[in-house]
Amino acid sequence: MNKKMLITRPEHDDTTHYLSHWSKKAIALAQEKGITVFDLSREKANRDKTEGILKKQEPGLVIFNGHGREDAVGGHKDEPLVIAKQNDALLREKITYAISCRSAKVLGSESIKQGAKAYLGYEEDFIFFYEPKRITEPLTDKTAELFLEPSHEAMLSLIKGNTVEEAERRTKNMFKENIQRLLSSEATKEETSMARYLWWNMKHLIAHGDKTATF
């Protein structure tokens, strides 16, 4: 049976615009591998469509991009898509990766109680810098790359069939490499000042559930 993946990509502000564009590489990789991708972008990243695909298509991998809170991940205009103790059972038997602030704190652990295989996400606010002049071409933004390349590595790693633990490890290693680069003597003062936010993201990335699970 072919593998299925759901990805949500709201684009209603700078943050979601960047996350959405940086996810395109993951979509392309999944398609290359013959994975069926349900791509809910912009207005389509709403609760109805998300629930519909989770129920009817049963994707093995779910990727959320967007704003979040401790008990939920958000979609277009921050509409909650999956909420702990409401519809988190929809994540049953699935691996989820959420670049969505704080959702690993409650939704992550609650979804595991509801039978989710694993939930990889951030327990605190996900932070990144970007260059406003690059807003129309987010993939050329070298500042955002420092933050978004590591965070998106987890998606690529899961799509490649690595375990959740490996996806977490690779992502943290990339954060670490970028921190070391920014703290090196070759970096400018301004560059060095951004290192603490990479460290913050690295520190708060956490995996719940079965870390040996693969997609």
């Binding site: 979040g68 970007y130 603490r196």
Partner: protein
């Protein structure tokens, strides 16, 4: 009420952030360096978050656990 010396330290550290870039702080929004500094001065939610990050990072540096 946050100690004034701590606020001064955090503001000094935020002053070094790049001026031509913006920072996205999750669902809270996107900010310039100047807005972050104002938030620290006002001790609002963003300012308190910045203080938390700075203090935890300084502690991690002190303990040598930033890249371990």
């Amino acid at each position: 009420m946050i100690d004034e010396d701590i606020k001064k330290l955090i503001i000094a550290r935020l002053e070094v952030l790049p001026s031509d870039k913006k920072i996205s702080i999750g669902s809270i929004g996107e900010f310039t360096k100047e807005q972050l500094i104002e938030s620290v001065k006002r001790e609002d939610a963003i300012g308190r978050k910045m203080i938390q990050i700075e203090l935890e990072f300084l502690q991690a540096l002190k303990e040598g656990i930033v890249t371990t």
